[in-house]
């Protein structure tokens, strides 16, 4: 009796907590990442209140945040703390771990025809390091002096010296510990994804038959493996400077009434190390979102993704170039102007593969048969934000133009649209599309429509006006714009942004509600709700360890045979053998050197 009960306990423990099943781990990443995302969003709403209504008292803030907002007004220190943790959470916890963690885990084995990840145990570790990392980051909000407050880029000396800002005490130490755990999590996950993609593809799943989602996840993982260790070294050296009296980043500093015994270091070194991760990080966020969108757009246009090989090529090109552009964050740091010129050149090159992607999306929609599922709407939204935000990147990437818009709201608008919105839209699109695979239930479409349109309108309402702030010269990370007469006509613009931010945040309640309601009470998912070609829709709706009850299906064609002439249905699953004389589309398109037809 007791033995049975014990066994049952273990079942629960190993099914839901210490699971090594990639589908469960995907759900764990999704839930943890989403909760972190909500925290990050809430923070942005709070500091937007201060920016929209500077100095005005909101008793509710004092009620919930006590000494962070004395008399209901957020304090300048805590404003910076919120900005910092908002950025950290959104970039790393939501759009890196939340996005890749959810979809790489869910889709890599399912779309490739693998029973699980190469190492289920490492995968589990990856999640739990992420969980620990999230806990430490949240805990840092409650320590003396508050959390890290030097901006999400935590440039030293501000982040290195507790005298510089209260958040650079215990809060910063916890930030570093949290990021170290996060990097371990990311590396364990990424190595696993790479090994799985290279080794565990089912029979017939050649590289050019893989869905673009997998290509995107694969290259994202490679980016992570190559760049996160550099961030690790950056924060490790910072840790040394903070705790052991080294001066890697410090030199000639007088603070807190005395000259410090630090000599010979340079903050610029930190900036180089940080942005060597920091820029590929942008694509660690974007590529999975673009991969998801490729899949969603093709499926719902009932057309093959246009230029499959060009899409792969552009992913590879973007990934490669992303390692050569980090200096565009540093044009005006005092870096040698010649280096600035080199980085301008490489940076603007990114626009070429990005343009290829956009035109390929547009051509995919052309003469399609477009089904407006909520996932498809968010995918269309992503194409729009990717264009809008990408184009202003041409201004920021040009060093001569960057001089005057660097670190202004123009930058804030740009990266929130191109990275924040695109990443989030891609992730949400993926949730709507693969919810049946995650939870075996369907999401409500009407709430989805409502969610999309409110989010879309609010997003542009928040981020587009920021370009005008930037062109007026308003710097980012200002607690208020009230100290400069030159900004006095922009108060109503800030208020407008804040109003849209609140609407946008409230709109996410539709999504939240839809997700939780549907997990428990949603209609059961059918086998293949979107009439899709890929392998994940051949697995049973109820999760099954090992994914397929019998043999793993064999793959005979690429993932994009939608509306193929001569076929009865408007889609042909990858498992259907090629008809005699039928062209294998995975071998068409741009030729690869050395490839045999």
């Amino acid at each position: 009796m007791s033995a049975n009960a014990h066994h049952h306990d273990n079942d629960f423990l190993f099914k839901y907590i210490f699971s090594t099943d990639h589908k469960m781990i995907a759900k764990q990443f999704f839930l943890t990442g989403s909760i972190m995302g909500l925290v990050g969003m809430l923070m942005s709403t709070i500091f937007r209140l201060q920016l929209g209504y500077p100095g005005e008292s909101f008793p509710i803030l004092e009620a919930f945040m006590s000494n962070w907002a004395p008399d209901g007004v957020l304090s300048p220190d805590k404003y910076l703390a919120l900005v910092t943790i908002h950025g950290t959470i959104m970039v790393f916890f939501l759009l890196t771990a939340g996005l890749s963690g959810t979809f790489s885990n869910l889709l890599i084995p399912l779309q490739l025809g693998a029973r699980d990840m190469a190492s289920g145990f490492m995968n589990m570790l990856s999640y739990w390091f992420f969980f620990l990392s999230s806990c430490v980051m949240i805990a840092s909000l409650f320590v003396e002096g508050g959390p890290a407050s030097g901006g999400w880029t935590i440039y030293p000396p501000l982040s290195a010296l507790p005298e510089a800002i209260p958040g650079s005490g215990m809060g910063m130490t916890l930030w570093i510990i949290s990021m170290a755990l996060f990097i371990v999590s990311s590396l364990l996950g990424s190595l696993n994804y790479i090994v799985t993609v290279f080794n565990l593809r089912t029979k017939g799943m050649t590289m050019t038959r893989m869905p673009l989602t997998i290509w995107a996840f694969l290259i994202t993982a490679v980016l992570g493996v190559l760049s996160f260790p550099v961030l690790f070294s950056a924060v490790l050296l910072l840790f040394f400077d903070r705790s052991f009296g080294t001066s890697f980043y410090l030199s000639d500093i007088f603070i807190g009434g005395q000259a410090l015994e630090v000599e010979g270091g340079s903050p610029i070194l930190y900036e180089h190390l940080f942005w060597f991760l920091g820029h590929p990080e942008v694509y660690i966020i974007l590529l999975p979102a673009l991969g998801i969108t490729s899949e969603v757009v093709a499926t719902n246009s009932r057309k093959p993704i246009f230029g499959y090989r060009a899409m792969i090529g552009s992913i590879l090109a973007i990934a490669f170039i992303s390692f050569l552009v980090w200096g565009h964050h540093m044009f005006i740091t005092g870096m040698n102007p010649f280096l600035g010129a080199v980085f301008t050149f490489t940076t603007l090159l990114v626009a070429i593969p990005s343009a290829v992607k956009v035109f390929n999306y547009l051509t995919t929609l052309w003469k399609g048969n477009i089904r407006f599922t909520p996932a498809m709407l968010f995918a269309i939204g992503l194409v729009s934000t990717f264009i809008t935000g990408g184009l202003t990147g041409i201004i920021l990437g040009d060093s001569a133009l960057d001089i005057n818009v660097h670190d202004t709201y123009f930058v804030v608008g740009h990266f929130h649209i191109v990275m924040g919105l695109s990443g989030t839209f891609g992730m949400i699109s993926g949730i709507y599309h693969w919810f049946p695979k995650l939870f075996g239930k369907m999401l409500n479409k009407n709430l989805g429509y409502l969610h999309f349109w409110t989010t879309m309108v609010a997003s542009y309402g928040v981020f587009f006006p920021m370009h005008f702030l930037g062109l007026a010269g308003v710097p980012r990370r200002y607690y208020a714009n009230t100290e400069f007469p030159m900004f006095e006509n922009l108060y109503d613009l800030n208020e407008l942004v804040t109003v849209f931010a609140i609407i946008g945040a409230a709109a996410q309640l539709f999504f939240l509600y839809n997700v939780f309601y549907s997990i428990f009470f949603g209609p059961k998912a059918p086998q293949n709700p979107w009439r899709s070609t890929t392998l994940e829709w051949t697995t049973p709706v109820e999760h099954l360890h090992g994914n397929w009850p019998g043999e793993i299906p064999e793959v005979h064609r690429w993932a994009y045979d939608y509306s193929k002439p001569g076929a009865k249905e408007d889609f042909i699953p990858q498992t259907v053998p090629l008809a005699p004389g039928e062209i294998d589309e995975s071998k068409e398109g741009i030729p690869i050197p050395g490839e045999h037809h």
């Binding site: 501000l158 610029i268 499959y308 005092g334 133009l401 005057n404 309108v457």
Partner: protein, 355 residues
Amino acid sequence: MLELLILIAVLVGIIAVGKVIRVMELASSLKGENSWQATDRDHKNQARLMPIFLLAYFAFIIWQIVEWGGEALPVSASEHGVVIDQLMDTTWIIIIPVFIVTHILLFYFAWKYAYNSKRKATYFAHNNKLELLWTAVPALVLLILILYGLNIWNNVMEPLTAEDEPVEIELYARQFDWTARYPGADKKFGDAGVRFIEGVNFLGMDSTDQDGWDDKYVKAEFYLPVDTPVQFYFRAQDVIHSAYMPHFRAQMNCVPGMVTRFNFKPTKTTAEMKEITGKEDFEYYLLCNKICGAAHYNMKMVIKVVEQDEYDTWLSEQKEFLAVEGMQEEPSSDDPVETDSTQTNIEEEELSAQL
């Protein structure tokens, strides 16, 4: 109490939405539909929203331009800034049409090719010529922009030489104020470093260096003569700051442990700019544009651009370093002449090197 009310309101709201969903689900299941599959009506409605959204988006942008376009920085007050603004305009001329055309295509296709069960999508998977087209055209356009931009960048970042006879100014940043230092009559900055900071000598001037005795420093506002090139040197005492002078299209970080540089030639006096902008209280500002702590948002200096004679008069009225009260005392005896690693004997190193 307030929290409780909010909590109740949220809960009631959630329950209400849940009931509405339930009703919608029941209604659709009565019609033989389900709550997740887009119906013909959905496709029609969503397709209609596409052009509506596009128009609303464009209208929103136009409204913003009308409302706040005028708040953009006025015409550049520096020589190189005019060139930068031309590059900016050229870039806008390239990206705005791309923005408009791609958005029209995106939302037009979405509206035009909305789902219809009687129609089949066109199977169109590859076309290498098209791919080549939209690889080559952006590449060409970007190449032009890159060459144009780099040409300007190289000119802007070109250091001044002694032949330009620049006014030299050191901007010194610390939490949370700015100080401008002028080299005085000998046109040489005295050495300075954080080791020398003591009492009123917050700039860390080495009082044994005679070059510094006639240096002048000012806070709150500093003057520039119009139509004379200005060579700036930037130092920071504690954390990274950034000297941002948006009206002159000028910005450079101030980094502890190193001296950074930027130069420009102001072309419009403050008085002229008041006329151009029509604002009586117009001032040029130096802002801090790198997060540096709690009062970062209020770290500023007013820049007055004036005619040469007014500048000369103003400068002559400023006290010399040695005349400032408290500066005459002996330097601390423990390290009287120890040289500091970041002495700012800039004028010798830099200018003579370029001659």
